[in-house]
Amino acid sequence: MFFLSTIRMSFSNLRANAMRTFLTMLGVIIGITSILALLTIGQGVTDSVIDQLSGLGGNRATVTIHNTTVKPGFTDEELEHFARLEGVEGVAPQLSSYHILTLMPELTNSKYDGVYTISRRVMGVNDFYFSTYTKNAGMMYGRSISTDDVTYRTNVCVLGYDLWQRLYGNYSPVGEIIKINNTDCTIIGVMNELVGIDVTGNSSIIVPYTTAVQTFSMGLPDSFDVVISTSSDSDEVIARVENLCATLLNSAGDNGYSVVNQEEILDMVVTITDLVLGMLAGIAVIALMVGGIGIMNMMLVTVSERTAEIGLRKALGARPSVILLQFLIEAVIISLFGGIIGVLLGLGASYIASLLIGYTFSFNPMTVMLALLFSLVVGVIFGLLPARRAAKMNPIEALRSA
């Protein structure tokens, strides 16, 4: 009851100085908006990165040779060894380099009438690449690279989505022949658009990696991914992979290879994003503190402006604690309303960011509660000193100033 009338009084006092109140509130609004936007955007991006990494199917490890002069890359037989290890679902080598693609005038569906050349990334992959990495996207036209294509080093290729649009517009290219470095390759399919973190496939032309090695002289793959079956213990499988590496690469020395587990990468991503977010949030907290100082400043001005009022209230029987409460409530109203507006703006900003960056918008209610609690605490902390000054004011001197 008493509390309610105090809150009502505080609102009327704040309304009387609407401009000043708003400007003071702005400090808190900026602080809370940036904290909430940073945390929500950061969380959203991290979540979607993790989703995409783990959405690629099972846990993975990337095996890389460092010393390429001693051992330039992995042979088919060696890759076969890795693929046959217990708990390994398959291996996916990847080669890539830029080559000249040529479209001849006799191609019926292409957008170009004459001879057309373009430099594009040629990726050499195996059938396993399609069955795991681009499984979700699927094929738009035709088929993907098969085991036979890899085994027999056929001259076939699959177009990435963007490249297909560039060369063919909306027509199917399946069955047409394109030259890669003057070698005829039959287009057997078009991939749907890839979304997520690794979208290099969209602008590339994809061939069997054995063809890439043999026909396009792209060298042996010096790195490949091992996909670990979900039913096995990834640590054990990685130990087996490392053993095999040691056996195969004995001549290359102890540090000739590395095996990086996807979980480690995930951990690293999380650690780095947490660090960056922590730093940014730290800056935002400083902004909020500056907002708090703004509140303190305004409340000090208010207290000295309203000296006569404080004196009168004391003469009418307001206890010091009541005066303290009244000014504290004013400070808290500023900071809490600033917090509420900041939360709304912060969520709005992160929603817009999610549309621009392209991840699914979500927010943690806990973060919102925390932001509101934080703004409340700022109001109390920075409102306390001015409120205490008002509460301690000598009523005679306060009345005399009228």
Binding site: M1, F2, L4, S5, T6, M9, S12, N13, A16, A308, E309, L312, R313, K314, A315, L316, G317, A318, R319, P320, S321, V322, P395, I396, L399, A402
Partner: protein
């Protein structure tokens, strides 16, 4: 609150102020008593210490030495919250400059002491309205102070002073900001309140205003004097 019993009794009250290194004695041993139901004016020029005396009587300040009894209670070494409670329940203040809060209506100003007395809202309104009726301003209840004349504002202030039903009404130059006719109306209100049994203590520098009271005490340079002594001293100063 039977008439005749002392409600305010001051014995040898002294007060001085410290301003940096300088010591200003303001009251030098004031002794006087106000009985329940009296209408007493304290007459003195500015600088005589009458405001300090009022602050001590009103429990806004405490004496350096001497005894102040408010009813049966000795006002000395009381915590601030108890002083606040006395100001809220036992004393009603009327100031020269009215001291109404400008942004709230007349009735809200009158309700203010009841908020501090923790009276429920429904009762606050009814009691504040009753007081406004008593000073003849029920129809102006929702006006802001600036929409009222000086006399009306002072009547609102009187209603506010009375709303907690205090035993004592303490007025500091209540007509100082008003013209003579309006001042006389305020004095009429004081006299009729006094007839209803409220003890009135009024501080003024104006003989004519003081004459509305049933008894006058004279203060000069922090001491009380009889009427004759005071007039002699005052003439001496002017001469």
């Amino acid at each position: 609150m039977s008439a005749g019993k002392p409600v305010i009794s001051l014995t040898d009250i002294t007060k001085s102020y410290q301003m940096g290194d300088v010591h200003f004695p303001v009251l030098h041993g004031i002794t006087f008593t106000v009985d329940a139901g009296e209408f007493v004016s304290v007459l003195g020029p500015s600088g005589s210490g009458k405001s300090t005396l009022m602050n001590i009587i009103g429990c806004l300040d405490v004496a350096d030495s001497g005894t102040y009894m408010l009813g049966r209670r000795t006002v000395k070494g009381l915590p601030e919250r108890t002083m606040a409670r006395i100001r809220n329940r036992d004393i009603g203040f009327v100031f020269q400059s009215f001291q109404l809060l400008p942004r709230i209506s007349a009735i809200e100003n009158v309700m203010l002491p009841l908020i501090y007395a923790k009276v429920p809202r429904a009762q606050r309104y009814a009691r504040a309205m009753a007081e406004l009726e008593r000073v003849g301003l029920a129809d102006k209840a929702n006006n802001l102070p600036r929409q009222l004349s000086g006399g009306q504002q002072q009547r609102v202030a009187i209603a506010r002073a009375l709303v907690t039903r205090p035993r004592i009404l303490l007025a500091d130059e209540p007509t100082g900001a008003l013209d003579r006719a309006t001042g006389a109306q305020i004095m009429d209100i004081f006299q009729s309140l006094n007839k209803e049994g409220i003890t009135v203590v009024m501080i003024t520098h104006d003989h004519k205003v003081a004459s509305f009271a049933s008894r006058t005490v004279y203060i000069l340079d922090g001491k009380l004097y009889s009427k004759e002594e005071y007039e002699a001293l005052e003439l001496g100063e002017e001469g």
